[in-house]
């Protein structure tokens, strides 16, 4: 079994660095290694690379170059956006609106603020995982200072009605942040028309290395400094810029934009093929997330009567690397907060499987994956007392 072909199907977790990105970064480690804040030529050369990367990333979302701020990761961007706005606007109010299906970087940032006396509203989502824009409108109060709703969900792939939510925030003059970590490079983002004030990005979800992210801050948005230090990033985020990774990030983002149409078509075909085949081949299976308004590369199932970690170990044995929202894989006692928020009972949330396709995904892997899943699910159901109880109930 050790010779089994390894198939990576967890691109929402991270992606490998693509060769073009590696090539772009390499000279910046050892030749153009200067500090962008240094006066001499080598420093200025690094400064040019940095500003060029900033301009190119800005172009990917139709932003202005000075509206892009580099960070160390998506989590830092979320922390900065939420805590930075909260601090800048604390005299205006202390109410923040978010949803129940945000990434922990957002939820835990909000919880940290709640501990400091901020009031947080966690909006429900519907069965497909969508936030109702009208619920945002109803939740806005005179002391609301920030709305933060993700663009697309990392677990179930559901894409949120960000434009509508943003318009409502505009109408009420409330700052709007969106975690675009999963959406960026996968679906178009155009801040010249999209009413958002802040967007979080991460490099390693789009074939750049781990350790680099960005925060888009629309000009005029009030936000406090997050990292005190030197004058880097227009005095807003101290710390010597990670120039090689930033150069890689810009390359990766540009390539993702250039290939978006082609990728969307290819990944959507893989996604829909897997969804169709699994729902047909495996009874008592549910697709989690919206059927069509979802990221092109995301599939999330719940297999009734069985538990997710067991599925993952067996899939790993067959060569497939996927993830699950089961408690056993998160290390906590509760299954995924996202799956609970869309209304799944605990046992169905424990039995979830996420497959996220990417560049390496091959249509030929799908049939083998479905075949493996059929065997795995049947085997685990054979062992399951819940399935036994179900059979007794239905067949007497």
């Amino acid at each position: 079994m050790s010779a089994t072909k390894r198939v990576y199907l967890d691109h929402a977790a991270t992606t490998p660095v693509r060769p073009e990105v590696m090539d772009a970064m390499l000279p910046v480690f050892q030749e153009q290694f200067g500090n962008p804040s240094s006066f001499y030529h080598r420093g200025q050369e690094a400064k040019r690379l940095l500003e060029d990367a900033r301009q190119r990333i800005a172009s990917c979302i139709q932003a202005q170059s000075h509206e892009i701020y580099f960070t160390s990761c998506g989590t830092e961007s979320d922390n900065w956006a939420i805590k930075g706005v909260a601090r800048a606007l604390e005299k205006k109010g202390r109410h923040i609106i978010t949803s129940k299906i945000e990434h922990h970087a957002v939820l835990h940032s909000c919880e940290a603020l709640a501990a400091q006396g901020y009031d947080i509203t966690y909006l429900d989502v519907d069965a497909d995982g969508r936030v109702d824009p009208q619920a945002v409108r109803q939740a806005i109060r005179p002391d609301t200072i920030l709305v933060t709703i993700m663009m697309a969900n990392n677990e179930i792939g559901t894409i949120q009605p960000i434009a509508e939510i943003g318009s409502i925030c505009r109408e009420h003059k409330v700052t709007f942040h969106s975690d675009a970590v999963q959406a960026a490079g996968a679906i178009p983002i155009d801040v010249s028309t999209l009413p958002v004030d802040l967007l979080s990005f991460s490099g390693h979800k789009m074939y750049a290395p781990k350790g680099v992210g960005a925060l888009y801050i629309r000009r005029g948005t009030r936000i406090a400094t997050f990292m005190d230090g030197g004058a880097q990033e227009r005095n807003r985020r101290g710390g010597t810029e990670n120039v090689p990774y930033i150069v890689g990030f810009a390359k990766a983002f540009e390539l993702a934009m250039a290939e978006m149409a082609e990728n969307t078509q290819r990944l959507t075909a893989l996604r829909d093929d897997l969804i169709e085949k699994v729902l047909q081949a495996v009874p008592h299976t549910r697709l989690n997330g919206h059927r069509t308004d979802r990221l092109p590369n995301n599939v999330n199932f719940s297999f009734e009567f069985i538990e997710g970690e067991s599925i993952l170990i067996m899939l790993d044995h067959f060569g497939f690397e996927c993830s699950s929202g089961s408690a056993c894989t998160s290390g906590s006692l509760d299954p995924s907060h996202v799956l609970l928020a869309i209304g799944l009972p605990h046992e169905k949330a424990h039995g979830s499987l996420r497959v996220t396709f990417g560049k390496s995904s091959d249509p030929e892997d799908i049939d083998r994956l479905v075949e493996s899943l059929v065997k795995i699910v049947a085997r685990l159901r054979d062992i399951s007392p819940l399935y036994e109880a179900y059979l007794k109930e239905t067949h007497g």
């Binding site: 538990e307 970690e309 056993c328 998160s330 290390g331 605990h346 062992i383 007392p385 819940l386 036994e388």
Partner: protein, 152 residues
Amino acid sequence: MEYSDKVMDHFMNPRNVGEIADASATGMVGNAKCGDIMKVYLKIENDIIVDAKFKTFGCGSAIATSSMATEMIKGKTLDEALHLTNKAVAEALDGLPPVKMHCSLLAEQAVKAALQEYFESTGRMTDEYRKLFDILDDDAHDHGHESGEDHP
């Protein structure tokens, strides 16, 4: 999550999976909310466990510990089975990751729940035996986290 080869073996090729139609006693512990449920079936003759089977909903280590626990009590006397410990189950599997220790406790509890049912249904429950079933009141998940090990 790193599992030992023994855990992997008992997960991939679990022993004693199934039901016993004319079981002398059954024990079911855990709940779907926490993500693991174990059901143990025992066939007891002349105070000897002549057969043990299980059904488990849960993670890899939950299935492996059920498999191992049933192996360890098969052919044993009631007295020997009553002294099965979660530690012994975990050791027999060459150890479990700290966050998974609760699975071995659940396996011990499943066996003891079946034994408890057996002693009660046969009218043989004594105060001395009753003490041995105190473990059924423990929350297996609390134990798993007492190990002090944080999430991976």
